[in-house]
Amino acid sequence: MSRNALRALELEGLIMHYQLQDAAMKTDLGEETRSKILKRARIVGQRVYYYKTADRLMPLARKAILQADSNGTDLPSGCVWCAGSLAQARGRMGRSWWAPEGGLYLCLALYPSLFHENWSFYNLGAGVAIAQVLIEMGVSSKIRWINDILIRGRKVAGVLSETVRAPRSGQTYLLFGIGINVNVEAFPRDLAQATSLYIATGRHWPIRQLAARVLARIGWIFGLIHQWESDCLDMGSVCLPRNPVLDGWNLLSDTPGHRVIYGLDADLAPEFEALARGIAPDGGLRLVLDSGEEIKVNSGEIRYIET
């Protein structure tokens, strides 16, 4: 067995360990509910592919989905691709994401089984999962809408997602690309707004454990949001249960109350300034313009204006 395959197996085992740990900690949930959520959570990380280095992970995942489809099968939901470093990583708007050794680089492929109008909660939930894990590890982090993770105003982690449709089977996959700056000791000058766990805490962190904890928590949160959707259907419109992703986001985000620049590309093409009021029930961001008018945005990005 290759070293990469061994690492993949090791990560699968660790993910399962943290999934069971997460479930065991949630004593406020009934046994039946907990077991349902755990069942969904365990989809994540059923199969892991590890690479010491790769160009980018999302194209690898896309290729695997299309390959399986052309062979007449479906790639199972919950597959994870993990790399020790990426040669051609990028963020949104084609921005470069510096991905040297010492970072955590993941791609997760899932069948989205929430109603389409609730897919936003996958993206928000991924951010909530990362922030929760970092905080439990003692690192004070905050979420900036939608799912950027910041430490003292600097970005330590980001999540991208794409939808991929297998042409023959018609199966849709959501791909989540996750990058966390873990033990990166310095950044190029053009990435002045980036930080790492090492820079923020002054110590090195175990990357595989962190990967496993983040993936396990993403699975758990996705399980929670599925349970919420199912409870909403059961309860009709009488008394809707609280949305666990929005609750988690509200607890961990410092966006509400910040004056922000908004834009498709808030760095290079800012569109307007506004006051962030909070998150809307569909995950959009409520902004108050200088005219006093309140609007909601569901795309684009924000940057904080420091006062």
Binding site: R92, W119, S120, Y122, N123, L124, I146, N147, V159, L160, S161, E162, T163, V164, R165, P167, L174, L264, D265, A269, E271, G283, G284, E293, N298, S299, G300, E301
Partner: protein
Amino acid sequence: MGINLNDLLRHYRSHIFEDYQVETPHTGVISYKVQDGQTVEGPSGEWLQRPGTLLYIIEREKNVKKMYTSWNGQVTGIRPDLEGHFVEAGEVVLSIRHRLDKNEIIDRILTQVLNILRAPQQARYFLSSDISAKLGKHPECRIAIEPGDEIVIMSLMKRDTAISYKEASGVLYKVYFRSGDIVEQGSPLLGICPSDRLQYVQEVVQRIRTDWENM
């Protein structure tokens, strides 16, 4: 082809105006800021960032909302009985009579001739990198589009979804949005002209340009 150009031109000559009904977005007390017959202007500026003419104000529990026109035209159908009164959501409070210009006529006819790809939901849209690169190099070129081609990327909540073309093969004839625009659900994104109709479409456009000058 199924389209008679003469019939279409006759139709638009006799229906040169379109009436847009303006409805209240929610309940509240309304106060008109325009009068019947008044000319109003739609949003302006490169990004349509300047709102159109203020039509009315609606106030609900001390929250005042200003409602602007989205179209150029003339105000019709003001309802004096509603002035200063409480109205329900969805109440038609006035209409805007908009005179179609030549390009709007062409657009309306093209939507009947081209295969139109519409926005599946309100989101930001981008041309696929392949099409974007080709148009960047040769803005006037006719790009061949095949069924299954990923032609547009929809971006919503940091999730990118590639949208594939599903109709018959053709060439990209019209792009209805600017890369990165927020497009409303159902609005046209791209117009694809089946190859066998291309010459006909060009004749249609030329005919309208000429005929409309003579009206």
